[in-house]
């Protein structure tokens, strides 16, 4: 009897693996191909043409809000509209991220306050805003709170040079009056930053040599603000201000943040801050009590314990999910379409799609924008996780 040690061909795991992968790949290719073929056939059957030809056509609609890219009715092309959409998405995302981070950290810290009332109030805030749909919140603030309660432009609420009314917020905008002066100011600011950085390095070296610590953080902040202010006059006050003034029906001059943008920003901030607060609470609680006790045993003050022991370790837990929240906020800004703020989805996948009917290319470009943002975020996350891992013992 001969001993047959060979595994039969069809039972060999390596062969099976290759076969399974080939089959899977073929199925995916077949699926994608049939979707492609169906799409082409359907487009032909409906007499629809797809392509990028409409990019150079002039957009026939008005865009109310475009702070950095120029918009003028009758000149701006569809491709420029696309970039205005991206600009507004990034703008609302950045504003939302800044506000949500500040508010979220505040609520998260209050949640851990030893005061029972404060901690319960923060819990109520978190549970209320985390558990209702964001879209509902956006509409609620816009249609049920701000729109009915804010006054008409004539009776605007005045805060310095800022005016608040049912159409939005009017703010003064800087106008460049002396462009060489502006460049000089920028150069001086750069020099100031380098100087402050050198100072921080020197302070650190001194600390390592003598153990004496300077309040570097506050000196830097104050130095930057005060230095920037003084240098502004050194450069010859290169900026003027365009302040809003009440005309017959509406404000003239200055910049306007439309009310939908304000409502969206407000709702995104409140909603995301509830999630960030939970991250902050979890992060701080993840630092075991032994760390605090050890720091006290080493004779560190309460402030130093928090700043040098608890916060650095808590941040390691807080930052990754918070970065995901930033991405969520950016994706959620697409709900602007419900109140009519002109970011990428409302402007491009909404108005432009209706005007041109180019569904295929427009949806693909919209998705591509978000995929890029998401890839960028995960790159940042991976970079951060790698960096944190290196410092781990």
């Amino acid at each position: 009897m001969t001993q047959n040690t060979r595994i039969p061909f069809h039972r060999d795991p390596a062969v099976r693996a290759i076969a399974a992968q080939v089959v899977a790949l073929l199925l995916v290719i077949y699926g994608l191909y049939s979707v492609f073929e169906n799409t082409v056939n359907n487009l032909v059957a409906r007499g629809m043409q797809t392509g990028t030809g409409f990019f150079d056509e002039v957009a026939p609609f008005k865009i109310g809000f475009s702070p950095f890219l120029d918009f003028s009715l009758g000149e701006t092309t569809y491709l420029e509209v696309f970039f205005i959409g991206i600009q507004n998405t990034i703008l609302i995302a950045v504003l939302g991220i800044i506000a949500a981070t500040l508010l979220g950290f505040f609520v998260g810290v209050v949640r851990l306050s030893p005061n029972w009332l404060a901690s319960r109030a923060a819990l109520g805030y978190i549970e209320m805003f985390r558990n209702t749909p964001l879209l509902l919140q956006i509409m609620f603030w816009n249609f049920a709170v701000f729109l009915p309660s804010l006054p008409a432009p004539k009776n605007s609420i005045e805060m310095g040079f800022v005016y608040l009314n049912a159409r939005g917020i009017h703010v003064p905008t800087p106008v460049v009056e002396d462009s060489t002066g502006l460049w000089i100011w920028m150069a001086l600011l750069m020099a100031l930053c380098i100087g402050l950085y050198r100072f921080a390095r020197l302070a650190k070296a001194r600390f390592e040599e003598t153990g004496e610590r300077l309040p570097v953080f506050w000196i830097n902040i104050l130095g930057f603000l005060a230095g920037g202010y003084v240098l502004y006059f050194v450069a010859g006050s290169p900026l003027g201000w365009d302040t809003p003034e009440l005309g017959r029906f509406n404000f003239k001059g200055g910049g306007q943040l439309p009310l939908p943008m304000f409502s969206l920003w407000f709702a995104l901030t409140v909603y995301t801050s509830a999630f960030i607060a939970e991250n902050v609470r979890a992060g701080i609680q993840s630092v075991s009590h032994g760390q605090t006790e050890a720091a006290h045993a080493l004779g560190l003050s309460r402030k130093d314990t928090v700043n040098l022991v608890v916060i650095p370790q808590a941040l390691r837990v807080i930052i990754p999910p918070t970065i995901s929240q930033y991405l969520n906020l950016t994706k959620n800004s697409s709900l602007a379409v419900a109140v009519g703020f002109e970011e990428i989805v409302a402007l491009w996948a909404g108005i432009t799609l209706n005007q041109t009917g180019q569904a295929l290319i427009i949806i693909a470009m919209t998705i591509a924008v978000y995929e890029c943002l998401s890839l960028f975020t995960s790159a940042v996350l991976n970079w951060y996780n790698r960096r944190v891992q290196l410092t781990e013992r």
Partner: protein
């Protein structure tokens, strides 16, 4: 010498000092522990007693509860207009069809009674035959839902998907989302952890693609482009398109939740299963998945909460879900101007379900976490 008969008799415990127990001590510790804490307490008490009575007065004491048209509310604008919600309740909960056919309302009501009769015992700890309850919820219940709500058989009048609305539609979208996304998500999670590079790459691409895009873009895509993707003659209505979009989107998130559970299974479990001579599928079905799914239930529930909230986005593509129904009702000719009540009511329903689910998932998490207490 000690006396042999004397035994150690402890004196009874003295009560704790009056300054450390009881409500007074609790108040001192938790509300007036330090100067800053006392100031905070005073601030919060001030805010509480300034604003909460105003809200209670508006929402309950001065509110309008009776009547059948807006004249009652217009006469008393100091309080909320719950009359509006009362009159339009059936419409907001079950949509236009059931709202205008009161004799058919028993259909959604029966469905929801059956649903909660199945769900509530399932969420309790000591219920026997949980597996069968869960299976009933996953297979016969959707059939019952379709038979009763869609109708068309047993002499029940037809209400096709485009006539579904209100909370009923929100529920249907979320339920379909979880029902189909769960098996798809499990397969994707297994694929993502597979040893085969091609399969892994396909699954990673799929998951990351759907996770990188906002749901609203996907819903736009589903409502505008889905008909183009299928051969001519295959037609779906708007609701089914939204369901497909939601399922694809949700499957990516479910996959990530299940992957978390899979990676928590120790390697020894895989090795032991292999040593027993089990092949991949039997190993996965009998050893790995039962453990992994149990661990990942809290995160699956969390993704489900997110989905439940996100179903409200279908109102942007024109479907009359709970949010859109409440909004439409509060902008109708008869009730124009009562937006606040509409939003608050819809928000309260969403909140009740999401808060309930999140409490459930937190409890479960705590229960599953017993072995990792420090």
């Amino acid at each position: 010498m000690t006396d042999q008969n004397s035994q150690f008799v402890p004196i009874p415990d003295r009560p704790a000092p009056a300054t450390t127990v009881g409500p007074v001590a609790w108040i001192r510790d938790n509300l007036f522990g330090s100067v800053s804490s006392s100031l905070t307490t005073l601030l919060f008490l001030y805010l509480f007693f300034t604003y909460v009575p105003l809200f209670i007065d508006w929402a309950i004491l001065s509110a309008n509860w009776t009547g059948s048209d807006r004249s009652v509310c217009d006469a008393n604008r100091e309080g909320a207009c719950w009359t509006f919600i009362g009159v339009r309740l059936e419409q907001i909960l079950f949509g236009l069809y059931f709202g205008s056919n009161p004799d058919q309302v028993w259909r959604p009501v029966t469905v929801f009674i059956v649903f909660f009769a199945l769900l509530i015992p399932l969420m309790m700890e000591r219920t026997p035959y949980k597996k069968w309850l869960a299976l009933t919820l996953l297979i016969p219940f959707p059939v019952l839902f379709y038979v009763l709500i869609h109708g068309g058989s047993f002499g029940i009048p037809v209400a096709d998907t485009t006539q579904w609305g209100g909370f009923l539609l929100t529920f249907a979208l979320a339920f379909v989302g979880i029902l189909f996304a769960l098996p798809l998500g499990i397969l994707l999670a297994l694929g993502r952890r597979s040893d085969m590079p091609v399969i892994r790459a396909i699954c990673v691409t799929y998951i990351e693609f759907w996770r990188g895009t906002p749901l609203i873009t996907i819903l736009f895509m589903a409502s505008v482009m889905l008909p183009l993707f299928f051969p001519a003659g295959v037609e779906f209505d708007k609701v089914v398109r939204a369901m497909i979009g939601i399922t694809l989107f949700q499957s990516a998130y479910t996959a990530e939740a299940v992957r978390g559970g899979l990676s928590a299974i120790p390697k020894g479990q895989y090795e032991a299963a292999m040593a027993l001579g089990l092949g991949y599928w039997r190993r996965t079905a009998f050893i790995i998945l039962p453990q992994a799914l149990k661990i990942s239930i809290p995160s699956i529930v969390n993704t489900f909460i997110a989905l439940f909230k996100d179903t409200s986005l279908v109102s942007i593509i024109g479907l009359l879900d709970l949010l859109n129904m409440a909004q439409t009702a509060s902008r109708s000719l008869e009730w124009n101007g009562y937006d606040m009540e509409g939003y608050l009511f819809a928000g309260f329903i969403f909140w009740m379900f999401c808060y309930g689910m999140s409490r459930y998932s937190q409890n479960l998490e705590r229960k599953l976490d017993t072995d990792r207490r420090h």
